[in-house]
């Protein structure tokens, strides 16, 4: 980035003309000339969005084509909604939808409320050393990669030698093969999610909690309201809009089960319950080369996600909440 700076300083143009806003109907060329350095600065970013964000959006059109790498996106034959029909009539579809939704609802139903509970408990702590220490500890896992989380799980839950296996074996005499038994796939995924992101998720709720009007608590105490009634009648209503916004975001992201996490925990034995849209797109698209079909699957997922985001936002507004947009 050094080059444009040097160039700009060398030209040393004094910006003494009045800003364009004062000449309301100034021609764009005049405006452009005045702001040319700003437009120059904008260029790399705009190019980035055009190529790497909107380029793939154009590439999505291969979902309606029979993509052949040699022919390219434009040259490939148009097949309409063929790939979507194939996907919806494929027995994989109900399985993927089921797996994705079950994981999504487990996360929404368990991890999401736990985040709020943890934030409320942290908010009740008056010993600031303890509060800060616990916060510091529970935020850490958010910054670790899913590879590390998966590797830790492999070590802790390994058959015969893993500490969790041995612990349960000693205490209850069970022999649980956590990593390959399909029944344990979902609990492990939710457990990982809780360990990795619950702490981090509290940040936004703690920020909202700090804005709740303190006078209301004093008034409630005078009225004789106990700890739990104060939380129920003052604290929770005080952070309701934050909860709703976070819920909208979570529902909008429902189908994004997290490619890395699921991929890393998938193995030959648990494929039936592990396959979700994201990993299916990878296995079918990248490893089997069915580019058009897998793009159609991905597009379906993105469109449902868009509908979910705008739908929940609309619902939130109908119920007189602020919503996102």
């Amino acid at each position: 980035m050094a080059a444009p700076v040097v160039e700009a300083e060398a030209s040393g143009r004094a910006a003494t003309r009045p800003p364009a806003r004062e000449r309301k109907n100034a021609k764009f060329s005049v405006h452009f000339a005045h702001y040319k350095w700003l437009y120059l600065l904008l260029l790399p970013g705009v190019l980035y969005f055009a190529v790497f964000r909107y380029g793939p959006m154009y590439g999505v059109s291969i979902a309606f084509k029979d993509y052949v790498p040699f022919l390219g996106v434009n040259g490939s034959r148009w097949v309409g909604t063929q790939h979507f029909e194939d996907f919806f009539s494929n027995p994989d579809f109900p399985r993927l939808l089921g797996n994705t939704l079950i994981l999504a609802f487990l996360n929404l139903g368990i991890a999401f409320p736990l985040t709020i509970v943890l934030a409320l408990l942290l908010n009740e702590v008056r010993l600031s050393v303890l509060k800060r220490t616990v916060q510091t500890l529970v935020y850490i896992p958010h910054f670790l990669s899913w590879t590390i989380v998966a590797s830790l799980s492999f070590l802790l839950f390994a058959l015969d030698i893993g500490p969790m296996f041995q612990f349960l074996n000693n205490v209850m005499g069970t022999n649980i093969d956590f990593l390959s038994d399909p029944a344990w796939f979902r609990p492990l995924i939710v457990l990982q999610e809780i360990w990795k992101n619950t702490g981090w998720g509290t940040i936004i709720f703690l920020a909202a909690l700090s804005t709740v009007d303190q006078d209301q608590y004093e008034a409630a105490i005078i009225d004789g309201a106990g700890r739990f009634r104060r939380v129920w009648h003052i604290t929770l209503p005080g952070i309701r809009s934050t909860i709703i916004v976070m819920l909208i975001l979570a529902i909008g992201q429902m189908l994004n089960t997290g490619f890395e996490q699921i991929y890393l925990m998938t193995n030959a034995l648990n494929r039936d319950v592990a396959d979700v849209f994201d990993t299916y797109v990878y296995f079918v698209g990248i490893t089997q080369g069915a580019y058009s079909y897998s793009t159609a699957v991905g597009l379906f997922k993105s469109l449902v996600g868009l509908v979910l985001i705008f739908g929940t936002n609309w619902l939130a507004k109908r119920f007189n909440q602020s919503g996102l947009f």
């Binding site: 004094a14 405006h31 904008l42 529970v138 910054f143 590390i148 698209g285 793009t295 597009l299």
Partner: protein, 290 residues
């Protein structure tokens, strides 16, 4: 807030403190176990189910991984890609954020709404993969950097930050004949150092931790990053690359996994206090909606 020291309140406080301490400890335990295990002998790892301190201190696991070319190569690669990638991504983000902070700039609203749309909708994995392939970036480290060059959230937060800086700063600089780029470079960037440092760290963590991009774009395993290597070691230890080690030496299988996890985690833990200093203030989240 006034405190009512009722018995019930004190019992609740005590229970709450104990519970939260346990939450903190349980969060930490997997690290402590892995850290301790990485300095233990293989015999001890196999014999003891769980421990937080090795009985017999051993550097064997580290000696082994650092003498494995596949590991050292992955480590050096990851450090370099992270360093270069962070600089590139931050430069892309800042140069775009600054013009967008100027409310009089025409086309600003259009660009901002296109940025926001890109947050909620993306082309998806396959079209992005095909684009990277068509650009000839497969098996190139740029494939780990460029497709994620600008995080729209970071862009908008940095834009908002520039917008909130006092306008007088720029006006006086303009009087002195500074250009827009001069203002950005000599006035805004020095003022924004803490903010930029935070986003640099977030970008760095993102590149360091990235598993999907190398999985998609680097099929040549001599180019693998640390996360790919870690995956290979922990998921299937028998696939571990052969190093120039003594053929009579039997590798401490579990110990290797422990040591690689520690090496992959350590940089994050070292930079974590710097990260926490900023996000704890709520700076990152508070301004997203604006």
């Amino acid at each position: 807030m006034k405190i009512h020291n009722t018995t019930g309140g004190r019992v609740f406080d005590a229970a709450n403190y104990v519970f939260l301490s346990l939450v903190g400890i349980v969060t930490l335990l997997p690290f402590v176990y892995v850290f301790a295990g990485s300095f233990a002998t293989e015999a001890e790892i196999t014999r003891r189910a769980f421990f937080v301190w090795p009985e017999q201190f051993s550097l064997g696991s580290y000696e082994y991984i650092f003498s494995t070319p596949a590991f050292t190569r992955a480590l050096i690669t990851t450090i370099l890609v992270t360093a270069v990638g962070t600089v590139v991504q931050l430069a892309f983000t800042v140069t775009m954020a600054y013009p967008l902070a100027k409310k009089t700039l025409r086309g600003r609203k259009l660009i901002l709404s296109l940025v926001v749309f890109a947050m909620v909708f993306s082309g998806g994995m396959i079209p992005t993969f095909l684009l990277v392939k068509d650009l000839g970036l497969l098996n190139s480290y740029w494939a780990l950097i460029l497709p994620a060059a600008i995080n729209p959230f970071s862009l908008i937060i940095i834009k908002n930050f520039f917008q909130e800086l006092p306008a007088e700063l720029e006006e006086s600089a303009k009087m002195d004949g500074a250009t827009e780029i001069g203002i950005l470079w000599r006035i805004l960037l020095p003022l924004s150092k803490p903010v930029l440092a935070t986003f640099a760290l977030f970008y760095a963590v993102g590149i360091w931790n990235d598993f999907m991009s190398p999985l998609l774009y680097l099929s040549d395993n001599s180019k693998w990053t640390l996360q790919m290597y870690l995956r290979q070691v922990t998921a299937a230890s028998d696939l571990l690359g052969t190093g120039n080690v003594d053929p009579n030496y039997i590798p401490p299988e579990q110990g290797i996994k422990f040591a690689v996890i520690v090496v992959a985690t350590l940089p994050i833990l070292i930079f974590y206090p710097f990260l926490q200093k900023h996000f704890a203030k709520g700076m990152l989240i508070g301004s997203v909606k604006g």
